[in-house]
């Protein structure tokens, strides 16, 4: 084979490869998303992707030389035309970007927005004139997402706004701002005028300085902002009119920095009135609860001995006896104590000594009682203790108390006072009322007194 023949074969091979590469590139263009069109000076379509033909409802091969303006209503086309004209009127402008909504197949405006990029291609074709490329991206999903976000922003119970480097409100992002600040026209107004001037008289000197610092931070270095922000008013009571309509606003500030300088501030106002009022309400409720507890405590606790009172007895003891009635516990018993010869102590040494005696005896009872036992000051020098257990264990408890009282050393007027205590121990019978149980215990106590005191009597058991 001659060299020439080989050269031709090589060239043919290269051409085949180029054709294949070109086919692939063209296929990529065919399958571009959205709208891709090449238009001539008369706005005839010279090339388009497959998606364009679907969007404009034309057979793909019929798109060639379709008049682009014919795809739209006159008003829509006029917007396109204006943008084509911008490229012609201002040659340095290489690309024009704009947004128009179009509709599938209807040639009308719709809520399907497209973002268009129009550019004039380099060079021109003598027969076609100027050549433009037009790319349209369907941004309806983006707009929907924006709308959803915007809906959240506008309905969020926060006031969101930005101020520019002059301190004027540039954008507002929330309808709630109107509710917060009692006005609906913000754009262009000074942030100070809208938020701080109406309550200037209420601002402290530091807060006023903080407002000045907001303005000083604008168009200044970012690192300065961080220091100044510490002084910005962050919590105000916004009350330009009637105090009952006032709002507790919490203000947060976020800088928007460009080339190291604070060019904007994003400001968020949060209405904390409800929270603060709720907190106050909670404080009041807490106080009331505390007071109620104190009242209740004083009602159920004997202030002298720290033992429960008869009032408490009603609930707890009834509950204990009820448990016994239902056989939730095997037994329940009552010990009724009475301090022997207590009246002479009071009479001879005074009530202070008497009170001290009662207090110490109560302490002994408390020391000997278990957590499940219910010790009560029944009145005067009488104590009763309800115990979940039979009369035997109750009796042992009573004996421990009695012996400890006997060992108690109480001095008054340099004299040792000897104290003893007597008790009646009764075991609760299923179905028996509290009154009846107390009555039986009282009878046993009476018997103990009668038999010489300083003893406990448990249904025929003596010590």
């Amino acid at each position: 084979m001659s060299n020439i023949s080989q050269d031709v074969q090589a060239s043919h091979k290269v051409l085949t490869l180029l054709e294949s590469a070109n086919t692939n590139s063209e296929r990529i263009i065919d399958n571009l998303p959205g709208v891709f069109l090449i238009l001539n000076a008369k706005f005839d379509i010279l090339r388009g992707n497959i998606e364009s033909s679907k969007i404009f409802d034309i057979e793909y091969e019929d798109m060639l030389r379709t008049s682009f303006p014919d795809l739209f209503k006159k008003e829509v086309w006029q917007i396109f035309q204006t943008n084509f004209q911008r490229l012609e009127d201002d040659p340095p402008v290489k690309i024009v970007k704009f947004e128009i909504s179009i509709a599938d197949h209807s040639h009308e405006f719709s809520d399907r927005p497209f973002y268009w990029q129009l550019s004039k291609m380099e060079g021109s074709n003598l027969a076609e004139g100027a050549v433009y490329s037009l790319v349209g991206e369907d941004i309806s999903e983006l707009r929907n997402a924006e709308n959803r976000l915007s809906s959240i922003f506008t309905n969020i119970p926060l006031g969101i706004l930005t101020i520019n480097e002059k301190g004027n409100i540039e954008d507002t992002y929330s309808n709630y701002l109107t509710c917060l600040l009692g006005q609906d026209e913000f754009n262009g107004k000074s942030f100070r005028e809208v938020v701080f001037d109406p309550i200037e008289a209420e601002l402290t000197r530091d807060e006023k300085q903080g407002v000045d610092n907001i303005y000083f931070s604008l168009n200044n270095e970012e690192r300065l902002f961080d220091a100044l922000m510490l002084t910005f008013p962050k919590s105000i009571f916004f009350c330009p009119g009637d105090e009952k309509d006032g709002k507790h606003l919490q203000i947060s500030y976020k800088s928007v920095v460009y080339e190291g300088l604070v060019k904007q501030l994003l400001i968020i106002l949060e209405d904390r009135t409800a929270i603060i009022e709720a907190e106050r309400e909670q404080e009041r409720a807490n106080l009331l609860e505390k007071q109620s507890k104190a009242v209740y405590e004083s009602a159920i606790r004997d202030p002298l001995t720290g033992l429960f009172t008869r009032l408490y007895m009603e609930d707890r003891v009834e509950s204990l006896l009820h448990s016994h009635n239902r056989h939730n516990i095997q037994a329940a018993s009552l010990v009724l104590f009475d301090v022997d010869f207590f009246k002479p102590v009071n009479d001879n040494y005074g009530h202070d000594v008497g009170d001290s005696v009662l207090k110490q005896i109560a302490e002994i009872i408390l020391q000997q009682a278990r957590n499940t036992d219910i010790p009560i000051r029944f009145g005067g020098e009488e104590f009763m203790v309800f115990l979940p257990g039979d009369s035997e264990s109750a009796y042992f408890f009573a004996e421990r108390v009695r012996k400890n009282v006997e060992r108690l050393e109480v001095f008054a007027e340099n004299q040792k006072i000897t104290l003893t205590i007597s008790g009646g121990v009764a075991s609760h019978q299923v179905g028996e009322t509290l009154t009846h149980l107390i009555k039986r215990a009282d009878q046993l106590l009476y018997l103990a007194k009668k038999e010489g005191r300083n003893r406990n009597i448990k249904e025929n058991v003596t010590s």
């Binding site: 063209e26 060639l64 074709n125 027969a127 076609e128």
Partner: protein, 200 residues
């Protein structure tokens, strides 16, 4: 160098020769004798994007370069060729088959031209046909010139029923003297061998 008068004749003869080559090869290739070639006198002009698709072939030598393009749509070609491929409808024809068909038409036409010039002792070579999108016409240059090389173009339409294939040709003559034999050449007789060449 040919005289001005001869140059004019050579240009006409070249134009006519390519037209005849395209028309006769098209009839043979499509098996449709009713295919006719006519000048385009409508809205189209050479240099425009004339079809979605284009088959391009080059016939070239030291004295002459002919760039021949067929501009077409697959829709038209499929409608034309599905009986040849034994299909029941145009839907049975793929884009690739359609493109191959037109590339083959380009090849046949260019081969016919090469043979014709060979008979005039003018040796030319032909490229492989290239199939691509029509909008590459945007980047082609059809500007005419008379010196140092003669450049001109031609535009015509091959029509059969509703099927239309546009052809555009760019002639670049760098040595008109080498084409003097064309002045006396009888183009009608060149067609006598119609159908005998097979360049595949």
């Amino acid at each position: 160098m040919a005289s001005d008068e001869n140059v004019s004749v050579i240009k006409d003869k070249l134009t006519e020769l390519v037209r005849q080559a395209a028309e006769t090869r098209c009839r043979a290739h499509t098996r449709q004798e009713e295919f006719t070639l006519s000048s385009v006198e409508e809205e189209y002009q050479v240099g425009q994007v004339l079809g979605n698709w284009m088959s391009l072939i080059l016939v070239t030598g030291e004295a002459l370069k002919i760039t021949l393009k067929f501009h077409f749509s697959h829709k038209d070609i499929k409608q034309l060729i599905y009986p040849i491929y034994g299909e029941e409808s145009a839907a049975g024809i793929s884009d690739q088959q359609s493109m191959d068909f037109v590339k083959e038409l380009s090849n046949l036409t260019a081969g016919f031209l090469e043979q014709t010039f060979e008979s005039m002792d003018l040796s030319l070579g032909i490229s492989l046909p290239l199939g691509t999108r029509g909008y590459y016409e945007l980047f082609s240059d059809y500007s005419p010139a008379s010196s140092p090389i003669i450049k001109y173009s031609d535009l015509w339409r091959l029509q059969y029923g509703d099927v239309s294939i546009l052809g555009s040709v760019m002639f670049e003559v760098s040595n008109s003297g080498a084409l003097n034999e064309l002045v006396a050449y009888d183009i009608e007789s060149a067609d006598e061998d119609d159908g005998e060449f097979d360049f595949l």
